[in-house]
């Protein structure tokens, strides 16, 4: 998957968690939780969805790397490159 495709997937997952989330103004470099109505349980929803879709296990110590949209894409790009 390309970084662009991964970004689209993440946005889709977030939109599925919160249909009312305004993703148009989302800044990629800023923490997702500062910009959206997301808490730790929602964050775990993102991790679970990645597991369901791609059988990708994100270890707990890597959770901080999923803080922003940009860092999430950077983290996932090498892990999903063969898909």
């Amino acid at each position: 998957m390309t970084p662009e495709a991964i970004k689209a997937v993440i946005l889709e997952i977030i939109q599925d968690i919160d249909e009312d989330a305004d993703l148009a103004t989302l800044k990629g470099e800023l923490p997702l939780r500062d910009q959206l109505d997301l808490d730790s349980m929602d964050f775990l929803d993102i991790v679970m969805e990645l597991r369901k879709r791609y059988k990708l296990q994100v270890p707990e110590e890597d959770y901080p790397k999923l803080a922003s949209l940009d860092s999430t894409v950077a983290y996932l790009t090498p892990r999903l490159k063969d898909l």
Binding site: I17, D18, E19, D20, A21, D37, M41, D42, L44, D45, M48, R51, K52, Q57
Partner: protein, 415 residues
């Protein structure tokens, strides 16, 4: 126990509900008086098509879709009913001490729906528990619906569930009343909630017991007292009340729907599922005694009968015993119209009858085409509403599995 002190008299100041066919008390009352059934067919996993009572209400009126998705159906129903009750009571919680509000929610069961869904989902992933949801525990703790209500209304007083099978709605009303009389809280938000239509297991268990209703026309499936009855129609719903001490309600100058003047609960202590009329009769007599009333004082008895063969006969036996010489007492049944709303049944059925204090009507029991002689009752209201000379006292029966009986008596408010 009869209370005359305003600080101990407990009144109903607000009603919020979601019922099969109605999302407010006025529409609910209209449907009941018109004899309109709220039952329709639903498709259920493993079970197929079954008659059920389902609620249509504005689910995002009081909270976001995101919260409905995260929470439970019971939470969604409860949050709606709670906000509606608070609005009906004219309460501004933002200006109130929300640590003095208690939320007491009656539940028949909770967690079946969420657990069944998770087990089903797990099956899609070779039963690998890595795919079990982190939402499972907060969704299935027994205080879930009450807790979701406190989060939505910023209530910081106590909240918990009252588990009392299908007597739960009445039991939670009694809990609210007692907490007010103890001055543990100043406002009680209480009643019952049911999400049981979401659980195939609840349907399947009644079916295995020979107690799940079926009929070619779903609107005729719920038929307590009829010779052709063949079981329960399961319904979802919520009915929450705001209860206040009379002196507080008078100080606010708020409309009073009624006063809880008597109540009782007891146990059969004999069988997991079969009801027992002598204990039901004892429960009614105890409630009457506590209210300082005799059976002849009751204008409407709202029966619990669910449409099972044995259950209806047992309650009718109890009713004939207690109301043997009561020519002015009418008996009706709300489940014939909305099905059995389990934890919400006691609350919804009482709410459906409360407007009788002002409109003087007794809503009918429908679907009695061929009355079972074993269910013959004096003044059973059938097919059409009955106009009375005035309704002053309503007695509400709710019984449940494991032999739990509850009775709540509500009087028209009089100084």
């Amino acid at each position: 126990m009869k209370e005359s002190r305003p600080s101990q008299r407990i009144v109903i100041t607000g009603v919020g509900l979601a019922a099969p066919g109605a999302d407010n008390l006025a529409d609910f009352r209209h449907n009941l008086l018109a004899g309109l059934s709220g039952i329709r067919l639903m498709e259920h996993r493993y079970i197929g098509k079954v008659p059920a009572g389902l609620c249509d209400f504005p689910e995002t009126k009081y909270r976001k879709r995101k919260d409905n998705k995260r929470g439970t159906r019971a939470g969604c129903l409860g949050v709606y009913a709670a906000h509606e009750a608070v609005a009906d009571a004219g309460l501004n919680l933002a200006a109130s001490d929300r640590s003095r509000v208690g939320v007491y929610v009656g539940l028949t069961e909770h967690g079946n729906v969420e657990t069944e869904n998770e087990v089903y989902n797990l099956g899609q992933f070779d039963n690998n528990v890595d795919f079990w949801s982190h939402h499972h525990n907060p969704r299935t703790v027994l205080n879930n619906p009450a807790g979701e209500i406190t989060m939505s209304l910023d209530i910081t007083g106590p909240h918990y569930s009252v588990g009392a099978a299908c007597a739960a709605g009445n039991a939670a009303l009694i809990q609210g009343l007692q907490m007010l009389r103890l001055h543990d809280v100043d406002l009680a938000l209480c009643g019952g909630i049911s999400e049981s239509t979401g659980s195939f297991g609840v349907f399947a268990s009644f079916k295995a017991q020979g107690a799940l209703a079926s009929h070619p026309d779903p609107r005729q499936a719920s038929r307590p007292f009829d010779r052709g009855r063949n079981g329960i129609v399961i319904a979802e719903g919520a009915c929450l009340y705001t209860l206040e001490r009379l002196d507080d309600a008078l100080a606010r100058g708020v409309k009073i729907h009624g006063e809880i003047i008597g109540y009782a609960m007891n146990s059969d202590a004999r069988d997991f599922v079969l009801p027992y009329w002598p204990r039901q009769a004892e429960c009614m007599r105890l409630a009457l005694s506590r209210a300082g009333l005799v059976a002849q004082d009751i204008d409407i008895v709202n029966s619990h009968a669910t449409g099972t063969r044995q259950g209806d006969i047992e309650e009718c036996h109890a009713l004939r015993e207690v109301f043997a010489d009561c020519p002015r007492t009418y008996i009706n049944n709300t489940k014939s119209l909305i099905g059995h709303a389990m934890g919400a049944a006691g609350g919804l059925e009482l709410a459906g009858n409360l407007p009788a204090f002002t409109d003087r009507l007794v809503h009918p029991t429908i679907n009695i085409d061929d009355l079972d002689p074993a269910c013959s009752l004096p003044n059973l209201v059938r097919d059409r509403a009955v106009e009375t000379n005035g309704v002053k006292v309503i007695l509400n029966n709710s019984f449940g599995m494991l032999g739990i009986n509850s009775v709540v008596i509500v009087g028209k408010y009089q100084q």
